[in-house]
Symmetry: C2
Subunit: 195 residues, 2 copies
């Protein structure tokens, strides 16, 4: 869109994004109409199209913001921790904490993966997350702390476990983040059999 916004304008924009995000997550992207969004906020339709070119652009912005938020939480969490395995663990714990506060993004991510117009944007974000984990794993292999197999495969394993456990135990039931994190870390490090 590219428009000069005052502080008030930026707030409105954020308000639209936040509200739309929860509506999309609860009701689905397509079934949630622009009319529904503006009515829910008690404003006219023109407000929506003042801040966004289209419903599609809004969704992409929401997606981008969510990915950035999660990524930032991970980065902050592992900071300059020297042990690569510990960095992975801290990343997992940070992701779970962030997801606990942002449960709705599960649906947004899952939906985005199913539509060709959104999948590329989603994929780009995920590739960055994978690259991060790959870096830690490579370091771990060098230090002899991780099995010497394709680091990318291992990274996807870690992401798969984290994603699934958090979806089931954090979003659906709402169990303790720390317990889920313990289980995810243990599974990622030692699998079914254990050390």
């Amino acid at each position: 869109m590219e428009r000069r916004l005052t502080a008030r304008g930026k707030e409105r924009r954020q308000q639209l994004m936040d509200y739309a995000a929860t509506r999309f997550a609860e009701g689905g992207y397509h079934p949630t109409s622009v009319a529904e969004i503006v009515q829910g906020l008690g404003v006219g339709k023109g407000v929506f199209y003042w801040y966004f070119d289209s419903k599609e652009e809004l969704f992409l912005e929401i997606l981008k913001e969510a990915q950035q938020g999660m990524r930032r939480a991970q980065r902050v969490a592992y900071g300059d921790e020297p042990d690569p395995v510990r960095r992975i663990e801290l990343g997992i714990r940070a992701s779970l904490r962030w997801l606990e506060e942002n449960r709705h993004v599960y649906n947004l991510f899952q939906f985005a993966a199913t539509e060709e117009q959104f999948a590329p944007a989603l994929r780009r974000g995920q590739e960055v997350a994978v690259a991060d984990v790959v870096r830690h794993i490579k370091d771990g292999i060098v230090e002899g702390k991780v099995r010497d197999v394709d680091p990318e495969v291992l990274a996807h394993g870690v992401l798969g476990v984290t994603n699934q456990l958090s979806r089931i135990y954090l979003r659906d039931r709402h169990d303790s983040v720390e317990e889920i994190a313990d289980a995810a870390v243990a599974f990622c490090l030692d699998g079914l059999r254990g050390p």
Copy 2:
């Protein structure tokens, strides 16, 4: 719908389900119109509503069929194998082989998870799959072959790994099923660190 169908009728019904499934997977459920489906098959709109009450019912039928198909493949694969850990491995391999032939269901499952009208049906099917793996894991714990922690958590770990690796390496790139299966099994058994 509940209608008496001749052999020809059943074929048409199946044709509609198969074609619609690929259209839904490629273009998304909502953006794919009933008109598009019947045009793609070169038939009138009435044909659709002869076999299905609604677009929604069609999608639920497609979902059910896909879940049954995958489940059947798993059951056949591990048959009466006595070793529970080996049963898990055979289940993973069977799932991957089935998914290779049915790549499009990834999108259907992911989309179904995001809409409240479809999520319950999806969940029911997944619970059955989890219960299956849980059984093998419990047997494995009894035999001392698997770590003695909550079997359901471990089962979700296995599903998470399988799901993620297959999505990335089987659907997106199309790597060899056996190699992916080897990697998934290894990760599930021994995690990042190895035995």
